[in-house]
């Protein structure tokens, strides 16, 4: 096997601190999109009890829809909202037509979602084509502060993610809806006897998680090109984030995303670059061995009844 050159390390000492700070900034932006995907998965997996492997394709559809709308001349931020609503509607259709029939058999839902992911990939290829899609950077600015480059659109993505995290966190932990939802996860039968419309809540969580995937796809295409197969790559990280943090735990998804982002950024900068993915997955395995409930604790995920 051809080995990397031994001179891979930074050879200019004056750059060392700038490069280190740049890697920390990179880690934050790497984490932000992952957190958004992780929150959607952690809600649907941890609270609604549905293992939706097509969640990555929902994100991809959001990105493709954004590409199409921006291509017609629409403002990116308007397209972002519409992409979220479109994928939310897709989530509603998927939950009503498919996943609601598998609530008592999560494994059926899991297999069904794999089929759905392949169907969505090929539907997008059929409607558009197989090639990568990209849009022009909606902001197009780079701020240089003390030798560190901060790409403006990445900063906006971090800010949007922070707002969504805050809304979701307070919605789940403080609102009546959130409390009822958590009660129905703890004991579905008792929650139903108390008059909580559990099925409707599951649908609501699925729609909200899908909406986040749509927004995540729109934000992703503002940073990177996407292909019909982008979702199947990103989904692994989404599940890793939700499991590291603790299923159903929004704060956990944030911590999980930051951990993976930091490991990615620093390992790419200072480790063997070709092993970047392996480092973060090793961290995930270690955390799950040492804290099976995730860093911040969560639900046990879907249960067959």
């Amino acid at each position: 096997m051809f080995r990397p050159s031994p001179s891979l390390q930074v050879r200019h000492p004056d750059l060392i601190m700038d490069i280190f700070v740049q890697q920390l900034v990179n880690s934050l932006s790497v984490a932000s999109v992952t957190i958004l995907i992780g929150i959607g998965i952690t809600l649907i997996f941890g609270l609604a009890g549905i293992v939706n492997f097509a969640h990555g394709e929902f994100l991809m559809v959001g990105g493709m829809a954004t590409w199409f709308m921006v291509g017609t001349g629409m403002n990116f931020f308007v397209a972002l909202v519409l992409a979220g609503l479109l994928v939310g509607a897709l989530g509603f259709a998927a939950e009503r037509c498919l996943f609601r029939f598998t609530l008592n058999r999560p494994m059926n839902g899991f297999i069904m979602s794999i089929g759905l992911s392949v169907i969505l990939q090929h539907a997008v290829i059929r409607v558009f084509n197989e090639f990568q899609k990209s849009i022009t950077d909606p902001v197009g600015l780079v701020w240089t502060i003390g030798g560190v480059d901060i790409i403006a659109m990445r900063a906006i993505v971090v800010a949007i993610t922070a707002v969504i995290v805050a809304i979701t966190y307070f919605g789940i932990s403080r609102s009546r809806y959130g409390m009822a939802l958590r009660a129905s996860v703890s004991d579905r039968d008792t929650a139903e006897l108390m008059g909580i419309p559990v099925r409707r809540y599951v649908t609501g969580v699925f729609i909200y998680g899908s909406l986040l995937a749509g927004i995540g796809g729109a934000l992703m295409i503002s940073l990177f090109p996407i292909t019909p197969f982008t979702g199947s790559v990103i989904i692994i990280r989404g599940f890793a984030v939700s499991l590291i943090g603790g299923l159903g735990n929004v704060g956990g998804a944030v911590v999980g995303g930051l951990v993976l982002g930091l490991v990615d950024g620093l390992s790419a900068g200072y480790g063997y670059p070709e092993w970047t993915d392996a480092y973060s997955l090793v961290v995930m395995i270690l955390i799950l061995v040492l804290r099976p409930q995730g860093l911040l604790g969560g639900t046990l995920g879907p249960k067959a009844s």
Binding site: E130, P273, E274, T276
Partner: protein, 410 residues
Amino acid sequence: MRQLGLGLAVVAAGLAMALQTARADEELPIGVIAAQSGSFVSAGNTIVGAANLAAQQINDAGGIKVGDKTYKIKLYIRDNRTDVNVTIAAARELVNDIGVKAIWGTETHDFSVSMAKITGPAKVLQFSGNSSLGAVLDDKAVAEDGWLHYTFQSEPQEWQRSGSTAKGVLSLLTPQLKSPPKHSVVFVGNDATGQYLSSHYVKALEAEGQKVDLVQYPPDTTDFSPLLTRIKGMKPDIVHFWYNGDSTLTAFPQALKLGVAPSYFLFGVDPGIYQERSLKADVPVTMSCVPVCWGSSPYPEVKQYFDKYFGLGAAKGPQSSVSLLYYDYFFWYAKALEKVGKIDDPDAVVAELLKSDYKGVVSPVPLVFNKHHQVTFATEVCMVEPNTSDKFKCAVEQPPAAPPPGDNGG
């Protein structure tokens, strides 16, 4: 009775005419195995596009005259779903059930090698556009009793392509930089193809006097900023984005924003795509196609080819030029069949291909197979003027005569 006799005569005449028509339009079954779904679809679809165009042109021109018969090509196209097991199943079906005479495809080394283990024993010719086949096409493998006797590599050997590309990149970039470039970083995906291809390209750059660092990234990476920041710290004169056009198109805009290097080379990115995406850089950027570019070709016959190729509905993508690794060989194969005068003598066809040449679209120099069943042609490299998306200057540097020091040529 007379009426019955007349009727029988009419039926007999009709049958004779039908037989005559059938004889005039005999079918030559040819297989195509390519990824029409899965992760290699953008390369796979170009094989299908090239095959459809070539078959249509040959058939419209009257078909292939072999002995006293005329054959029309009938394509049997199979989607391998970017899966080696599906590829093997498709090859078995085409060879054993349909009885194709030759197969075009596939797009990756290990798939092509798996196919060759089926086409070889059945004496079915195989044309595969993988430079990495050079690792297995040796004297023993291509001998008459060898397992690759019927396999042809329709892309140049990697040291030739790497040498042609390195010379083209440096000849275009050197006049644009304040001082001659000395330090190159090759940035490549860490998969089997990336490892194989980059090993030759690094040697080619070193042969041109470059000090080279190799940085590999995990396949399917989307956020390249941490890796690019690392490269920026190495202060390169040129960053060469090697091998995977899609990954390059993801990484390159990130590199521009981070100001990673004073110049870049993008392998497998067509000027047409650069223009379509309105990419702009304030530093010189070169790019190369596999093998010639549809977005800015110096050859009129290449332009005509792509007009017809896209005219059949093929999408314009970064890898559309890959279709030219497959197109010419339909005509060359047809010419060999006509010369041999039989379609059921694959050994004679192989011998004819090895002693003949063919002036195709892919190269102004006639194509010739060497003793290891490999062709040679140059790779086109183009440079876009800084701050523009559509002003290109292109160069075609012929491959070196021999592998560079340290490159075993495999």
